[in-house]
């Protein structure tokens, strides 16, 4: 038997070739492709993002250390940095309207010193072509560098002049990389970089202006560490000391959350793909039993069969994994294109890790979920050629049954790299599935009762659903979850945001005017009055911070609040109380604003000159502030202490001007201030309002509608990635459905043959099959709608602070799309069967 080696190889290849051509391995093939593609694209994507962040990590600061503050830095910090021989640069950040002819745009103005940036590259091209990109320091006086989006939005070009504040500037170049422009700052405006020496000319810096300063330092590692030690105790609440790690953490956190969500969603896809592999390989095993039995009856040894099938399955898996990697690469490319505008990624610089993880996932799917049916197949006894073949599952539990669960856990672990999370996901998944199963079966049970009265086809359909309940349950769970997520995203995109806006009262302001100086208030207020622009009046705003509560200094929110304060036995001095961790906008009012309610204490009389403050309820709760507590505030160099006389409940969603800390007039008198106002500008008046306000360049206009538009755009962009994953989930769910329909094909053939023999008409059979899948999809759609509504309820009431509203139209969408989708997929899978003539059907099965 020396020549037999080549024979099994030949036979295996022959089987593979024919079966592939006849499409008998399509489901297994697609399931593995899907799992590999999902894992590869996702892991590759997150890898790319992380890589981009690491290589740009220094650039994200433009320095080694940054002090971000809303007030000028004390000179001793500069002196210390000079002593250590550090590089130093300064950046002043503010918002301003930029004008060019009759066009205007709110922009981020960055005024920088000559040494900016200390690290990373500020890349600027001075003409239209991108060939002459140069790494530069600050622009020359009288010129600015702008982002391309500003040119596009204002319809101007390099060489044109823009007005910032009261000074004209020539656009000398377009920035293609600003090293410390934060990733993910979707809300940020186009940036303009100017020389710091030009700032005064603009007259944008006024007392009380909303300005931030960034002081940049660069130096040797050891010196930097010493500097860290030295500076940290000197920082106050309005100052943030940023090193590379903390800046990365902030960036990383957002991405981590996004990545976790995508991982979870794609896990669902992978689990479903694995289930599809399991179902399809079970059918594969059953379908190949006669082949193996005949092979054996004709004298093939076990070893021979083993070789034939191990090679057969391995080749199939290998092919699927390779195609999966290709498809995954395509998806990865799509994903990268989606966020290109936020982060420069390079899909060609892939590491081996995503490929490795994807291949391992493919192998786990191909081996763990198929090992049982295939080993059972190899064990097929040749006596089956006489006695017939096993079709059912053995109920005996064996090690083989544990393998898929272990594999699922492994898959989860590969993704989350967190044992506890993987375990809870596995158990949570089982629990959710069980709940869905019970609900699903209950609904199907109701359907069956109804179907009995509804007609033969429906009756048959529900009888079938009930009989195949176990198989259907997997589909039910998978489609429910997929439809629910899709519905939720659709509702979020199309409904919640617009409902949020609709729930606003009629005159809800859509523009905020910030930085109005006292001498401008009169003219601006007159203009609003004359032109019937609804305003909420003008409020004086003071930038300050809460520095102590009851004499105890506040500490940053991220630090642990003082626990030893109540510790009577403790000798340690209290470290501090939980504070706001940031500067606050403070104001005074004679009466509480309309949509607030004093829930504790009493509001002051308008002419009461005793200093006092009213605190917003949630902040009071968080900071444990009670009526009568003494709060100390620092505004610039002024420090004063006031008692809390009332606590207010504020509706933050009303878009009215609201403040956490409101004082009586006497408390804040004589402190430097600017005013703020909120206007409702209807579209027709927008041009005239903007034209009028252009006289006051230091006044910043915040257009809420534009921001809402940006939010919507952002949600749209974010959901592309989620939708992409969900499409994969739906595909995987469909694969499970098709695999299961195929697995039940022989049984269905037999049933149809019997029904045909008993005289059932073609339409009855077709309808019963159609109704079966429609009902399955509809039940999944119904459960998905319920689940979606629960999620929306939580979002609306907890996140958006809205009144809960039902979305019955989406229930309809859920049920109809579920029924339609499952109905079509199911009918397509059964199409061949339903079109067989009665004679063929009977001959094939009897």
């Amino acid at each position: 038997m020396s020549n037999l080696t080549g024979k099994w190889l030949q036979q295996s290849l022959r089987l593979l070739h024919h079966e592939l051509r006849k499409g008998e391995l399509t489901i297994v093939f697609l399931a593995i492709v899907l799992a590999v593609a999902t894992v590869f694209s996702l892991t590759g994507f997150s890898e790319q993002v992380k890589q981009a962040l690491t290589t740009n990590s220094v650039n994200t600061l433009a320095a080694d250390r940054v002090l971000r503050t809303s007030s000028l830095m004390s000179p001793d910090i500069k002196a210390e940095s000079e002593r250590l021989g550090f590089g130093f640069a300064k950046k002043v950040l503010l918002n301003s309207m930029v004008f060019s002819g009759d066009k205007m745009l709110l922009s981020d103005v960055d005024a920088v010193t000559d040494d900016y940036p200390l690290r990373g590259e500020l890349l600027v091209s001075t003409s239209k072509g991108s060939q002459d990109i140069k790494s530069v320091k600050s622009p020359k006086e009288g010129t600015v560098w702008v982002e391309q989006s500003l040119l596009g939005r204002m319809g101007i070009a390099v060489g044109d002049t823009v007005e910032i504040g009261v000074a004209p500037f020539v656009i000398a170049g377009v920035t293609s990389n600003i090293p410390d422009k934060a990733f993910g700052s979707v809300f940020s405006n186009p940036s303009i970089i100017m020389n710091i020496n030009d700032l005064e000319k603009t007259e944008l810096v006024q007392p009380g202006s909303r300005i931030f300063y960034k002081y940049l330092f660069s130096g040797e590692n050891d010196d930097l560490k010493d500097f860290d030690e030295w500076i940290k105790p000197k920082l106050n609440e309005s100052q943030r000391w940023i090193d590379i790690k903390s800046s990365q953490n902030r960036l990383g956190k957002t991405l981590d959350t996004a990545e976790k969500f995508l991982s979870l969603a794609s896990m669902l896809g992978i689990v479903l793909a694995a289930i599809a592999v399991a179902v399809a390989s079970r059918r594969y095993g059953q379908r190949h039993q006669p082949t193996v039995a005949v092979f054996k009856a004709l004298g093939a040894s076990n070893k021979h069969i083993q070789k034939v099938y191990v090679l057969h399955w391995s080749l199939l898996s290998l092919m699927s994994i390779c195609i999966g990697l290709l498809v995954g690469y395509g998806l990865l490319h799509l994903g990268i294109m989606g966020i290109e505008s936020y982060l420069a990624l390079d899909s060609t610089s892939l590491t081996l890790r995503p490929i490795l993880i994807a291949v391992v996932t493919g192998l786990i799917c191909a081996v763990a979920f198929a090992i049982h049916p295939i080993s059972k197949l190899i064990e097929t006894s040749p006596i089956a050629v006489i006695k017939g073949f096993e079709s059912g599952n053995s109920k005996k539990l064996s090690f083989y049954h544990a393998i898929p669960l272990i594999a699922l856990f492994l898959l989860l672990y590969i993704f989350s790299t967190d044992i506890l999370m993987s375990l809870s996901l596995l158990l949570g998944g089982v629990l959710v599935s069980l709940i869905l199963l019970v609900v699903g079966r209950f609904i199907m049970g109701l359907g069956r009762t109804a179907g009995t009265k509804a007609g033969k086809a429906l009756h048959l359909a529900f009888a079938n659903l009930k009989r195949r309940a176990t198989e259907n349950s997997v589909q039910l769970v998978s489609f429910t979850i997929a439809i629910k997520l899709l519905l939720l995203i659709t509702v979020m995109k199309s409904s919640i945001l617009s409902e949020w806006q609709q729930q606003m009262p009629e005159n809800t302001p859509n523009h905020y005017l910030v930085n109005i100086t006292d001498d401008q208030v009169g003219a601006i207020s007159n203009f609003a009055e004359k032109n019937d622009v609804p305003t909420e009046g003008f409020f004086q705003v003071y930038r300050g911070r809460l520095s102590a509560i009851e004499g105890v200094p506040t500490i940053k929110v991220q630090d642990k609040p003082n626990a030893s304060q109540t510790d009577e036995a403790g000798d340690e001095k209290p470290k501090g109380r939980r504070g706001m961790g940031r500067e606050l906008s403070l104001t005074w009012r004679d009466t509480p604003s309309p949509l607030t309610e004093v829930v504790e204490g009493e509001w002051w009389k308008p002419n009461d000159t005793t200093p006092q403050v009213s605190v917003e309820k949630e902040v009071a709760e968080r900071l444990e502030i009670k009526i009568g507590d003494e709060l100390t505030f620092t505004i610039g160099s002024d420090v004063f202490t006031v008692p809390v006389t009332s606590i207010r409940d504020v509706n933050w969603q009303s878009r009215q001007l609201n403040f956490i800390m409101v004082f009586n007039k006497a408390t804040l008198e004589n402190l430097p201030t600017t005013s703020i106002s909120a206007w409702k500008v209807v579209p027709e008046k927008k041009d005239s309002v903007y034209a009028f306000l252009s006289q006051y360049p230091s006044v910043s206009i915040i257009d809420v509608d534009a921001i809402m538009k940006q939010v919507t755009t952002m949600v749209d962009q974010m959901t592309i990635a989620i939708e992409l994953i969900l499409v994969l989930v739906v595909l995987a769910g469909s694969l499970v459905l098709v695999a299961q329909v195929q697995a039940s094909m022989e049984e269905r053939e037999r049933e149809l043959a019997i029904l045909r023999t008993l005289g059932a008409k073609g339409t009855l059979l077709r309808n019963s099959v159609l109704f079966e899948f429609l009902a399955l999809g509809a039940v999944a759609g119904l459960m998905a709608s319920i689940a979606m509504e629960i999620a929306v309820f939580v979002l609306q009431t907890q996140v958006f602070d809205m009144t809960f509203s039902l979305h019955l139209e989406f229930w309809l969408v859920g049920i109809l799309s579920g029924a339609g989708f499952v109905g079509v997929i199911g009918m397509l899978s059964c199409w061949r069967l339903l079109n067989l003539s009665s004679v063929t059907l009977i001959r094939r099965t009897m």
Partner: protein, 266 residues
């Protein structure tokens, strides 16, 4: 057809019983049987009489509870699955009621399979030749699903003969076919068997088909009895008492002489 005294199949005191709900159910009472080279034997009996069980043990697909089975002197009852497979590959051919062609393989590939498993030279050429003999030379590349029942059984017959087995087991070969096709398939089977000189053991409950065999034994509730002995068969088998039957020293193979007159399917 020539029958010689070489024993191809020999069975001594074979029994088969199974455990069913704690009780022992005897399917085959002690069976003794000898079939010589070139012989055609029909095992007849009603459904459930045990004839298929007997066939599966004779062919080495199953093991007896007790007793001995020899195919060409190979003690199948002592062999494990792998050894029995080897014997089947080298000495045994099959024809089944349900045809049992491999759906993923073409007609030719199905026919080639036993030859490949037995490592016979030129399986393709032999396969084509046999398919020509059964009148399917135009259907070489067709898959079973593209063939009618009768055509499938013709492929199965070609497959059964390709490895030139010493003994051919046929289980209700016409059971799934209509009368006309059944008769045609029976003609083909007996004709090829005759020409290739294969020993044939046929299980059927069709008396007409059984009548075409030189010898008939009947199975009734697990008991095998001689049904009739035709004139041209050499009977070495003594159903009841043949413990002392000696094997023929002559080890010549079955007569491979081909008679004139090819099989011409209609």
């Amino acid at each position: 057809m020539k029958v010689n005294s070489e024993s191809i199949l020999k069975v001594n005191g074979l029994t088969k019983s199974v455990q069913l709900e704690g009780k022992t159910l005897s399917i085959l009472q002690p069976v003794n049987l000898q079939v010589n080279a070139g012989e055609t034997l029909a095992i007849i009996g009603s459904s459930g009489s045990g004839k298929t069980t007997l066939l599966s043990i004779l062919a080495g697909l199953d093991l007896p509870t007790s007793g001995e089975v020899y195919i060409k002197n190979h003690p199948l009852h002592q062999f494990n699955e792998e050894q029995r497979s080897q014997v089947r590959a080298e000495h045994v051919g099959f024809i089944f009621q349900q045809f049992l062609l491999i759906n993923s393989l073409t007609a030719l590939e199905n026919v080639m399979l036993p030859a490949e498993l037995a490592n016979i030279e030129n399986p393709k050429e032999k396969g084509i030749e046999l398919l020509k003999l059964v009148g399917l030379e135009n259907r070489l590349e067709h898959f079973p699903s593209q063939l009618s029942g009768g055509e499938q059984q013709r492929v199965a017959i070609a497959r059964a003969f390709i490895s030139q087995p010493d003994i051919l087991f046929a289980d209700e070969p016409t059971g799934n076919l209509d009368t006309k096709t059944g008769k045609y398939i029976a003609d083909l089977l007996f004709d090829l068997n005759d020409r290739l000189g294969t020993t044939l053991v046929l299980v059927t409950h069709d008396p007409k088909l059984a009548d075409r065999c030189a010898r008939k034994v009947e199975m009734d509730s697990g008991v095998l009895t001689e049904a009739s002995i035709t004139s041209d068969s050499v009977v070495n088998a003594n159903i009841a008492n043949d413990q002392n039957a000696q094997e023929e020293p002559n080890n010549t193979t079955a007569n491979n002489e081909k008679e004139e007159g090819a099989v011409c399917p209609t």
